[in-house]
Amino acid sequence: MSACIEIRGLSKVFASGKRRVVALADMGLEVADGEFVCLLGPSGCGKTTVLRIIAGLEPATGGEVLVHGKKVESAGPERGMVFQEFALFPWRTVRRNIEFGLEIRGVSEKARHELSSGLIELVGLKGFEDAHPDELSGGMRQRVGIARALANEPTVLLMDEPFGSLDAQTRNLMQKELLRIWSATRKTVLFVTHSVDEAVFLADRIVVMTARPGKVREIIPVSLPRPRDRTSAEFIAVRGRVLAELDEEFEKAREKELSPD
């Protein structure tokens, strides 16, 4: 397996006025082709920032990100992104949301229709093609978000807490759905979450990040076969290991918050 995403010595400093916040410091990571990797860490550790830099929405302060050997300079359709708040275009129907990227690329109407029909089928939205986002439930909206990102046939799918705003049941269902879609399309997935349970259920490898400034603390491979049983002893064991790593970082983050700097 070749490397799909290479992150080298990545750092990011947010400066507003006199305040400087070091979000990332010397972070490195390699993600293989077709791999499902979860980024996990205490809030404010820069997980989302990593994703936004890979997406090309945010410039890095130092270091570099390579996707298939090409340095990331700006946003591009080969890196699809799924957002926590869905970020669907409210004035477009389900179908037209999904076709957005294809329109930009100048794909003919007929080809667009064919491609979007396939994706609507894949994400289970048949019958809702002409609905607008505000007529859909949260879970269905994120299905649109996923289909819209897949329409450009990206090699990488960047997911920023995509199920964070869904209720527990919908969340579990969407995790299963995502694994089904992933195994059908075999994209490389980089998935940001703050839920240990979600990470253990989904990932090939879990990257635990340190509290701010964020870098990689530990990489925990999850070799359990899918579908995974959340109640199995093996699942709980991995969960325990990840939680132990994370707890220390939570503690550090808390101390930092309390101490004046």
Binding site: G80, A87, W91, T93, G101, I104, R105, R148
Partner: protein, 279 residues
């Protein structure tokens, strides 16, 4: 309760609520008309000098009807229909020109900080000046047709401009991010995200502008330079001929026209939002 009967009960409640509203509205209007009739009768019985200024509802209603057939007694050939038409034409042109200038200006000022910093002082200086302050010079320079149009233009221009600027700045950054990750460059972000996102703001600007537009046109047409046409002119003319019944009838017409145009704007707004899927 089954679904259909719940729905039926809801529809029934809505219908009843609407009837109650209608009846209450009619009650207050009736009280107003009755008090008006009594006041007018009292003034004329007591021989008050105010009496000519308060014609009764019946006289005004008659003037309203006859104004569409003929003009103020003593004048011929000036009919309400023509007056309405010329005011509407002026409103239309003022509006169209204001849109054509305010929309691109608002888009530009909302998108580029430099342009906003350049334009803002001018906007802040000219916006608070009541459009009517320009009436004398506009009527002298632009004459009776384009003068009032210019006044309407000024009244409509600022609400649209400010709303469009605000709309551009309120565009959800997450939607811009999403568009960029889907391959959109600057121009595509503008046409496919910013433009549709500002439509509701533009509609608000148009509705506010319409109200201001009617105020402007009436006052502009009333100026002592012979504008010769328009509902404002008709108000002034009837008063000049001491036909206050016709004057009030024209005022009623102006109110109705304003309601009508605002209603049309609201209808368009509803249609557009439904078409765009924003409710």
């Amino acid at each position: 309760m089954p679904r259909s009967s719940v729905l039926l009960a809801r529809v029934k409640d809505a219908v009843v609520a609407n009837w109650v509203k209608l009846v209450l509205g009619l009650v207050s209007v009736s009280i107003f008309i009755a008090s008006w009739a009594i006041a007018s009768l009292y003034l004329s019985e007591s021989g008050s000098s105010l009496s000519p200024f308060v014609p009764g509802p019946k006289l005004v209603a008659e003037a309203f009807l006859s104004s569409f057939v003929d003009s103020v007694p003593g004048l011929t050939g000036i009919r309400m229909g023509d007056m309405i038409a010329s005011s509407m034409i002026r409103i239309f042109w003022g509006f169209l020109l204001a849109m054509l200038v305010a929309l691109p200006m608002g888009l530009a000022m909302g998108s580029f900080k430099t342009l906003e910093s350049m334009g803002k002082p001018l906007v802040e200086v000219f916006r608070p000046i009541p459009p009517l302050a320009w009436v004398p010079v506009f009527l002298m320079v632009f004459k009776s047709f384009w003068g009032p149009i210019g006044i309407v233009f000024l009244g409509v221009f600022f609400p649209i401009l400010l709303n469009v600027i605000f709309g551009v700045k309120s565009v959800d950054q997450r939607l811009v991010d999403a568009a960029r990750t889907l391959g959109a460059k600057r121009s595509a972000v503008f046409t496919k995200v910013v433009m549709p996102a500002i439509v509701p703001y533009m509609m608000t600007g148009i509705k506010v502008g319409l109200g201001v537009g009617w105020m402007c046109i009436v006052a502009a047409e009333m100026m002592p330079i012979q504008s010769g046409t328009g509902v404002g002119y008709y108000v002034w003319l009837s008063a000049d001929y001491s036909r206050y019944d016709f004057m009030y009838a024209t005022m009623l017409v102006i109110g109705l026209l304003s309601i009508l145009t605002t209603g049309v704007a609201e209808l368009i707004e509803k249609r557009v939002s439904r078409w765009m899927g924003i409710r």
